[in-house]
Amino acid sequence: MSARYLPYILILPVTLFLCIFFLYPFVLVAQQAFSTGNGFTLDNFRNVTGHWKFPISLKNTLLLAAAVVPVQVVLALLMATMVSRMKKGRDMVLYIWTIPLGISDLAAGIIWLAIFEQSGFLNSMLSGLGVIDKPANLLTYQNPWIVFVAIALAEIWRATAIMLVILVAGIGLIPREYYEAAEVFGASPWKRFMRITLPLLRPSLSTALVIRVILAFEVFAVVQAIGGTLFPVLMSETFNYQFELLNGGAAAAIALIILAISIGFTVMILRLLRVPKGATI
């Protein structure tokens, strides 16, 4: 076996795999979305976007992302800077903070259901403190805001860890000398954060944001576990079309819409946080 061909042989399995299970399905999903059996058509899209639930689920998905992602960015940045200055107990604290990384969205939804359900821990605490006399049913359609807050909290709880890991890794790559120099010139911790950490963290920040925002548009199991049908999102609509209504074309159409939104946001984030060429660490 000649060494010239060896690298190609080594990457062949992954390439084949991704072609069959990543690129090809894209062609298929587009095909499915743009046809109803006889040729090219936009019927599926008209069908889907014309449904009364579509604007609601689109609004819910975007609203949830808008509420959750900024909180997570701030929280993850805060946690990452706190960890970077830590001497004792760093490993322990990092382990605890990254626990949610291994927890599935379904389990996270169930965990927060345990807090917000009628006989759950929030009601128990409130009645223990004497705020309420009997448990209120919080997760109903009369309380859309509580449902929203419960889902948002579960999302923040679950998916901040992924940003934290990326940011901690990114901070680890920033040379110590910059901080030492800044300290010599008397820069306050806040100034050091604003002038050194944030700008040099840009590549990690954009990776973290891209991954997080895409996850936010994929939100599904958390919502199902806490809100059920009370809080329709795009992904649950896809699921409904596929299973309840057995309309594969419509499901594919929504899938393409989610895809388009995700790509749009990815491009936007990469543009906004672009690192100028030659300005790497």
């Binding site: 690298p7 190609y8 990457i11 399995p13 992954v14 390439t15 795999f17 991704l18 299970f21 990543f22 399905p25 894209f26 298929l28 999903v29 499915q32 946690m79 706190m82 830590m86 001497k87 490993d91 605890i96 903070w97 990254t98 626990i99 291994g102 927890i103 599935s104 379904l106 169930i110 965990i111 345990a114 009628q118 006989s119 759950g120 821990f121 128990s124 709880w157 990326i166 890794a169 990114g170 790559l173 590549p203 991954i211 895409i214 548009f217 994929e218 599904f220 199991a221 576990a225 059920g228 896809t238 699921f239 596929q242 594969g248 499901a251 594919a252 899938a255 895809l259 995700s262 790509i263």
Partner: protein
């Protein structure tokens, strides 16, 4: 907890700052742990007390809920399927991904950048959606509703990580080591198995575990692609509306436990993985 006492007494403002810092670290730890503790209480309570009000804040160590979970029709099969799919995903993603990681770290070849792009591209897409068209493809090929079919889809989710992680691991091992082995009479293959492999085995294990967790936690594709042979996540999801609370909580608990252990096992590698995967 993390406020370190130093031998030089700091001024008062500094001291106050340290207390705020320590308190913030403590609060953020509690923010992660307390919800998990609530789930633990619910799991270790009898089905009756899970549904009563108000809740006790200490577990009563009753196995009723877990026994109910184990005896629920189809649940143990789902658990078995989940484990099988995750194990297969683990093996597949390493077998398929590691050679590519090695190639990226050791060779300069034409198309390398294109290949890296393809790998990175997979992370910029909501992959579970691909389960929809695959459902049709699988019915045609007879892979629908099988453990192996789902494992292949989960491998697609896990393999980009496997490639990037193994790439960073192999890059950490100097080529000189391999070259020394070649001069001492090893072939490329034996140098790899005798010198490189033992060195990176722990890292490979970590990335395998990561693949396991990705598969174990995946909900959407699992729910779309299985009907009879549900995995645990798919089974719980499709029965959410009808299942009683204690079943949900016990199920959630079973989902969480392996994840806790595995994240603990790979914690050393988590940051190395992402540090490289960033660039």
């Amino acid at each position: 907890m993390t406020t370190v006492a130093t031998d030089v007494a700091p001024p008062d403002a500094r001291k106050a700052g340290r207390y705020v810092y320590g308190a913030a670290v403590f609060l953020l730890c509690a923010w992660v742990l307390v919800p998990l503790y609530f789930l633990l209480i619910n799991t270790l309570s009898s089905p009756e007390s899970v549904n009563t009000f108000p809740k006790a804040f200490i577990p009563e160590f009753d196995l009723g809920s877990l026994l109910f979970f184990a005896s629920f029709a189809g649940m143990l099969d789902a658990l078995k399927n989940s484990i099988l799919v995750a194990l297969l995903t683990m093996v597949l993603s390493i077998v398929v991904g590691a050679p590519a990681g090695y190639a990226l770290s050791r060779f300069e070849f034409r198309g390398k950048e294109l290949f890296r792009m393809l790998i990175l591209l997979t992370r910029a897409f909501p992959l579970p959606l691909l389960a929809l068209p695959l459902a049709v493809m699988f019915i045609r090929t007879g892979l629908d509703d099988t453990v192996i079919g789902l494992a292949m889809v989960h491998t697609t989710l896990a393999v980009p990580f496997a490639v990037l992680i193994t790439f960073s691991l192999f890059s950490g091992i100097p080529l000189e080591l391999e070259e020394a082995a070649w001069t001492l009479g090893c072939t490329r293959l034996t140098a790899f198995t005798k010198v490189v492999l033992p060195l990176i085995l722990p890292g490979i294990t970590a990335s395998a575990i990561f693949a396991f967790v990705i598969s174990w936690n995946e909900v959407f594709a699992a729910a779309v692609l299985t009907i009879e042979n549900r995995t645990l996540t798919a089974f719980l999801l499709t029965n959410l509306e009808t299942s009683p609370l204690h079943l949900k909580f016990a199920g959630g608990f079973i989902l969480v436990v392996p994840a806790l252990i595995f994240i603990f096992a790979v914690r050393k590698y988590l940051f190395a993985m992402w540090g490289i995967a960033n660039r």
